[in-house]
């Protein structure tokens, strides 16, 4: 069918008047006033998009602020660590006969190899197990520039061997003394340290 026929039909249909509603404006207004307004306003897709965007932006801003605070704390800690390292460096260049009692103590980690740094030359640089004799635990470690072989006069499989985990080393290169922790009195090991200059 062509468009002119469509147009004619449209004209005919337009002459038909739909039945009028029986509506009263006052009734409509009264009903509207009596009924509670919708509690949740209708939102368009755009509004939802805007709300979602606002929420996302708030979350990002919050995350950025939190990150900035954390970063600032980390920076503070780094500064403190650097200061302590610097102080430690100053303190770790003792005279040969300086009393070891003033030296800080370091812990030895039996399982994780330690590596020295310029800021801490006395930190244990390597620590490897040697085959022990039947009744001696012996280990070699490097403390600062010194290779030390340490023999523990403890049966290798005795419970006291476990206490060696708690040994501490003093930072006295002259004496290179190993002492057990004070809080590990069960350690009955007698420590023999032997300085092996390389």
């Amino acid at each position: 069918m062509n468009r002119s026929t469509d147009h004619e039909l449209e004209e005919v249909l337009r002459t038909l008047v739909p039945r009028s509603p029986q509506l009263d404006v006052d009734t409509i207004l009264e009903n509207a006033a009596e009924r509670p307004a919708p509690s949740v306003p209708k939102t368009t897709g755009f509004s939802w998009l805007a709300m979602s965007g606002a929420c996302a932006a708030s979350a990002m801003i919050g995350a950025a602020i939190t990150f900035a605070i954390i970063q600032s704390k980390v920076d503070d800690l780094r500064t403190q660590i650097a200061t302590l390292e610097s102080q430690r460096n100053d303190a770790s260049q003792p005279a040969v006969n300086e009393s070891p009692s003033v030296e800080p103590r370091r812990e030895i980690d039996d399982d994780v190899p330690q590596f020295a740094s310029q800021s801490n030359p006395y930190r244990v640089r390597s620590y490897s197990n040697l085959l022990p004799s039947q009744n001696l635990g012996s280990r070699t470690l490097v403390v600062g520039s010194h290779l030390k072989r340490i023999a523990f006069q403890v049966p290798y499989d005795s419970p006291a061997q476990q206490d060696l985990q708690d040994l501490e080393i003093t930072d006295d290169p002259a004496r290179s003394k190993l002492t057990p922790r004070q809080h590990a009195p069960s350690t009955r090991a007698t420590l023999i340290s032997e300085l092996l200059d390389t």
């Binding site: 069918m1 468009r3 026929t5 469509d6 039909l9 449209e10 005919v12 249909l13 337009r14 002459t15 038909l16 008047v17 739909p18 039945r19 009028s20 509603p21 029986q22 509506l23 404006v25 006052d26 009734t27 409509i28 207004l29 009903n31 509207a32 009924r35 307004a37 919708p38």
Partner: protein, 159 residues
Amino acid sequence: MEPAKIRHLIDRHGASLVLYARQWCRNPDDAVQEALIALVQETPSPNDPTAWLFKVTKRKAMNLARADQRRTKHHQDAARWTDSWFDAKHDQRLIADEAERALEQLTEIERQIVVARIWGELTFEQIASLVDMSSSAVHRHFHLALDTMSALLGERTKH
């Protein structure tokens, strides 16, 4: 919204809104009234109140139809509208009845488009928003619907 504007909308679009609502429910006046109440409560007022009214009237009419179905489930026939769609004088009664039957033969979407276009006087863009279609698709459906109606009316005229 001011009462005068509501009154103007009823005078201008009330009849076409009732015809539009009639496609879903047997109490189209109630659907239109509910839509007008919602319009009064709507703040801010919609930019295009006419298109807004058609959209809300459709929703209200569908809600009423569902309620009707629940109430008269055992009387399905009662849910069908019985009064005439058009307010025709005696000499136009035949045409009005034929047009009504032809409209009933259209698909729901075609009927919506024809009613909104011819009696609601909405633009194709407004109708596209109403039925969630593109303007070109609405245009195509409109002319297909007119072709169908024309064929139906032609057959009836021959008989």
